[in-house]
Amino acid sequence: MATFLNALFLQAGYNAALVALGAALLGFAAGAGGSFLFLRKRALVSDAVAHATLPGVGLAFIVMVALGGDGRSLPGLLLGSAITAWLGLLGVEWMVRRTRLSEDAAIGAILSVFFGIGIVLLTIIQSMSQGRQAGLEGFLLGSTAGMLFQDAVLIAGGGAAVVAIIWLLRRPMTMVAFDPGFAAARGMNVRRVDLAMVGLVLAVTVIGLKLVGLILIVALLIIPPVTARFWSERAETVVWAAGVIGAVSGWVGAALSASAPDLPTGPIIVLISAGLFSLSLLFAPARGVLASILARRAFQARVHRRQGLLALSRSEPVHDPLTLRILRREGLMRADGVATDKGGIASTRVARDERRWSIARRLHHDTALIGRYDGLTPIDEVFTRDEIAQFDAGLPAAEGV
């Protein structure tokens, strides 16, 4: 626990602090950058991008070795991965535009084929004399073990740059993500904005290769935006909230992984964000499971209360146990099933409301108002007082209250 807290507050040594800062920035960039694709309902494009980086890593290694280099320089490998990831993206885009295949089929095809080619290249590299200790498999799942200072700077700097670009492009990207048709009608070049979105995702993927690896970076691009969506209905809030969720996952995950052996950084970061997702799924206001259960129960109670009071006003016996419980709890009904004074007043009022509604529905023809009749809404929430007086005039005198 102490080591975890130390790591959390950057006291667990230089290297761990470096990783934690890098992971937090990467998490922020991934969360915010991934939200646009998620809001655009293209979240899994990032899966294709991520897998398409592998052949680039292999090719870059081979080229660098052929040029007489060591082959393990991180910037070179990342440049190679960016190139093939870009090719993969163009491939997805080209297939969707030029053929009748849907985007998910194109994503799956690019993902598996590029990954297959990458694996072929990895086996070629393993047979090269310099390839034995290349450690390129580390890019599959990420590894912080041999991370150098300049690698961490690259990750942090890249993450910061991505965040800055998101800030600059937030308006057009939000508009296209939210309503591409409207954006196009406003004269916006939707295709270019779309490319900017996937370009950002590509940048995040490439930056994150070393830290979390190409299979798990997809999680950082999808889970924080989905989590943030539970907390807000506003597109821009979702973007920044997703950034914060990603950053927290990165930070806490890196600290946790530094505090104990056998806790690989990438999976831990992903699992932390998955934990935040589960919490949001259960407890978020409005969209969470708990909130919708509560809302459902409140609605149920209103229906039973109303129907119970209507039954009381007609002096009918109430049998439904839930209705009985609600009426008794609110002191509207005595234990023997007779209405209390309070219950009598309430039931008369509800009955009058119901009669007013039935007249209103006969007299009024504005469906926007009449359509709000659901057997629950009191009529004075919908109509003005003099309108209600008009309805009362139509009530049979004997029944009027």
Binding site: W94, T99, S112, F115, G116, L122, I124, L140, D262, G266
Partner: protein
Amino acid sequence: MGAEFVQFSLTPILIGIFAAVACALPGNFLILRRQALIGDAISHVVLPGIVVAFLITGVVTTGPMLLGAAGAALVAVVLIEVVRRVGKIEPGAAMGVVFTSMFAGGVLLLEQSDTSSVHLDVEHALMGNLEQLIWLRADGWGSLLDPVALAHLPEELPRMALIAAIIGLLTMIFWRPLKLASFDEGFARAMGLPVNLIGLGLVTAAAAAAVAAFDAVGSIIVIAMFICPPAAARLMTNRLGIQVAWSLLFAVLSAILGYVLAGYGPIWIGAASSVSAAGMVAAVSGAILGLTCLFGPARGRVGVAAGG
């Protein structure tokens, strides 16, 4: 094409063919239903499945591993559905959340448990070991009639053949409902077909194919065969029956060509060792898909002239 071929290449090629066929058949319908990526999701969650199976049983044997993988696939499908419905999230993102989280859990469990002594790692689950499924007891084509040698066939071969046969049989039996539910779900529902059940059955068959295949050929081939041959076939024809036939042809072609190119290709160009067969099979299927994207007679959308 002598004894050496039968010993070292025949069984891997056959296993590859059966795996490709078993995946490509359900893939046809998954693509039509826009569920192509469910294969991707299932092959990712296979890893946590086999790790949990190993942790429970303590041994790396085929039976528990297959059970674990199948269980994980089932859990994943249910979770995706729960997240999609309860959280009101679009299917792609729901899938992304579930399979990446489960995969991360699998990797973590793997690192935490003492699996250094056994052959169980991420790369194995990804790439399979197609090249090692050799038939050492064979000494020529005659061994195909020799019961003693046949008894020493790699156990993956009959298993994969059985799965491929079952899936083929199921496809034939449920051809009409599958076709209706895939092309026009609303109409199928109106006709009284149990559309949800058909969808679940299809996903289950896909999961069975993926789980049986990953052990022998790795996840890459599984994902590639779910998508590439059916997608390429879809660009060849407008008729479902012909599409399925094309997809089988493409799948078989990818398996054979991929294996041969991986095993013998490097030697032809003078390199010393072979490359990953699984990766090469995926690459060949991609090349076939690329060609059909360029020249397939039915590649355009309806209403757009071919070549437009």
